[in-house]
C-alpha cells in the first residue's frame, strides 16, 4: 500500500463525477429497464440529478466530507424527483450525518455511513430486501463492507467486493416479484426483468471502486 486509503471530499466528488457520467451514458438503458417494469423514466430522472451535480460541484460551499454529502444529497433530492430522488437523496444525507464530524473517512466509517444509508432508505421507502428495488443492490454491498471491516481488508479490496456484491444483488432482482414502486402494480409480470434502481445502485458502487482504485492503486 502506497498510502493509507481514505475518502476525502475531493475523492468523494470524483466518485460522484464518475457516477454522474455513467448515469448520463446509461440514461436510455435505464429508461428501457424502467419501461419494462415501471414508467420508463428512471434513467432520465437520475440523469437530471447527474447534470445538476456536475453543474453544482463548482458552487458547493462544502469543506468537510459531511458538508459535501449534504450538498450532494440536497442537489439530488431537488433535481431527480420520483421515488429514486428521495431515496438516493436520503442515501447521501445519511452519509453526511455519519461523516459530519470528519474531514475524511476510512473503511470503518464508510461502512457505518452506508449502514445508516441502508436503514434510512428502508425506512423512507418502507422496503426490505427482496422487494425488487435498489435495496437489493445496496444491502449486499453494505453487508460485504461490514465483512471487510471485520476482516480488516484495505479500502480498495473492500470497495471492489462491495461493487461485486451490488452487481450480484442487482442481477438477482430479475427473479423477484416487485412489491414496492411502480413495478408492483403488474404483479408477477415483473418477474424476468432487472430492476432499474438496482442497476443504477450497482453503478454507484462501480463508480466508487473505480475512483478509489484511481487514487490508491494496488
Amino acid at each position: 500500500m502506497k498510502t493509507s486509503a481514505i475518502l476525502s471530499p475531493l475523492i468523494a466528488q470524483n466518485w460522484l463525477e464518475e457516477f454522474s457520467k455513467i448515469v448520463i451514458s446509461l440514461e436510455d438503458h435505464l429508461n428501457e429497464l424502467d419501461a419494462a417494469v415501471g414508467d420508463g423514466e428512471h434513467g432520465s430522472n437520475l440523469s437530471n440529478g447527474a447534470k445538476a451535480l456536475l453543474q453544482g460541484f463548482p458552487n458547493f460551499k462544502s469543506r468537510t466530507l459531511g458538508e459535501f454529502f449534504e450538498d450532494a444529497g440536497m442537489t439530488i433530492i431537488n433535481s431527480v424527483g420520483g421515488a429514486s430522488g428521495a431515496l438516493y437523496g436520503t442515501l447521501f444525507l445519511r452519509l453526511s450525518d455519519v461523516t459530519s464530524n470528519y474531514q475524511e473517512a476510512d473503511l470503518t466509517l464508510i461502512s457505518q455511513a452506508f449502514d445508516s444509508s441502508l436503514s434510512g432508505i428502508m425506512e423512507l421507502g418502507r422496503v426490505k430486501p427482496g422487494d425488487k428495488t435498489l435495496v437489493d443492490a445496496l444491502e449486499p454491498a453494505v453487508t460485504s463492507m461490514r465483512a471487510s471491516v471485520k476482516n480488516s481488508e484495505n479500502l480498495l479490496t473492500a470497495m471492489i467486493k462491495a461493487h461485486y456484491a451490488a452487481e450480484l444483488g442487482c442481477s438477482s432482482t430479475a427473479n423477484m416479484e416487485a412489491r414496492k414502486g411502480r413495478g408492483s402494480y403488474q404483479g408477477d409480470r415483473s418477474i424476468g426483468h432487472i430492476d432499474p434502481g438496482a442497476t443504477s445502485m450497482a453503478a454507484l458502487f462501480g463508480a466508487l471502486s473505480n475512483t478509489i482504485s484511481n487514487y490508491f492503486p494496488h
Partner: protein, 328 residues
Amino acid sequence: MNAPDSVVTDYLTGLESSHREVIEFDLNSRIIQRKTTPPRPKVGLISGGGSGCEPMHCGYVGYGGLDAACPGEIFTSPVPAQIMAATERANMGKGVLYIIKNFGGEVMNFGLSAEIMKRRGIEISKVVVNDDSSFPLAQVDRRRGLGATILVEKIAGAAAERGDDLAQVTTIASKVITNSRSFGVAFNSCTTPKVGHPNFEMPEDEFDVGVGIGGDRGHSRTKMVSADNIADILLERPSVELNIASGSKIILLISGLGSTPSIELYTLSGIIQSKLALKGAESIRTLVGNFITSLDTFGVIATFLVADEELLELYDCPINTPALRWGI
C-alpha cells in the same frame, strides 16, 4: 411532436397563456399558482405529481380548487424544492393541506417537504389518496391515487373557500377518499417522450385490467370483451367496497386516459349508470372526459364517490380552473 427535453416546460407555458385570467406559471419555482389571491385568507391546498397526467394537477388550480400545483417531469413526482415553493405560495396563515396520491415518489417527496415546512413554522396536513381498488385490501399500500384525487381537490377546495379551518378541510378530504373507489382498464401502452416507443406491446384483442396512471401495466390481462363487460369490470370492486346499494347517491367520474374518444367514454358512462340504476343507486352528478390521463393511453378510469348532502353541496359550489368550471 414534442421535444422530449422541454415537453413539461412547453406545456406549462401553453397552459399559462391559455388560462391567463386564472393561473400563473412560476418558471423559477416550476409551479402553477392561482393568479389572484383569494378574497380572504383561507386554508391553502396543494398537490402535485408526474406530468403526463394532464389536466391533473395544474388544470385544477384556481378559485374553488388548488392554490398551487407542482408538476414533476413526465411520470416523475415533483421535487421538494417545488413542493416547498408551492407550500409557501399557498400558505395564508391558516395552514396548508397536501393532497398526495399514493405513489412512492409522491409520498416520499411530499413527506420530506412537510417535515421541512413544519420546522419552518407552517402548519401542514396531509391526505393520501388511494382510491384504486384494483388491489385487494390486504395490499392496501399498493392502492394508487386515481380519479378521487380530482374529487378531493374539488370538494376540499370548496370547503377551504367557504372558510373551513385546516382540520375541517382535512376531514372533508379524508371523507372523500374513504367514500371513493376507482378502477381502470387500458387497451394500449402509452409512449413516453424519452423512450419513444410504447412501454410494452399489447395484442390488439386484449386489454389490461387494473391499470393506473404513469403507463404501468395492469395487474392482469384479458381478452377483449364488449363495452357492457368492461362496465361490469369497472363497477365490480368499487361497488362491493363502497357498498353501493339501493338509495346510494354517486358522483361518477369517467376519465379517458388520453386518447380515448369521447364517444366511447359516454357509451361506458351510460352503461355504468344504467347498471347503477339496476342496483337502485343513482348517479347524481357525472363528469365524462379527460380528467386524469396517462399520456396517449387508450383506456378509462371509472371513479365512484358515494356522496352525502355535505359532499354534494361542496361539489356543487362554484369552481373556476382550467379543467373544471361551473357556477362562475
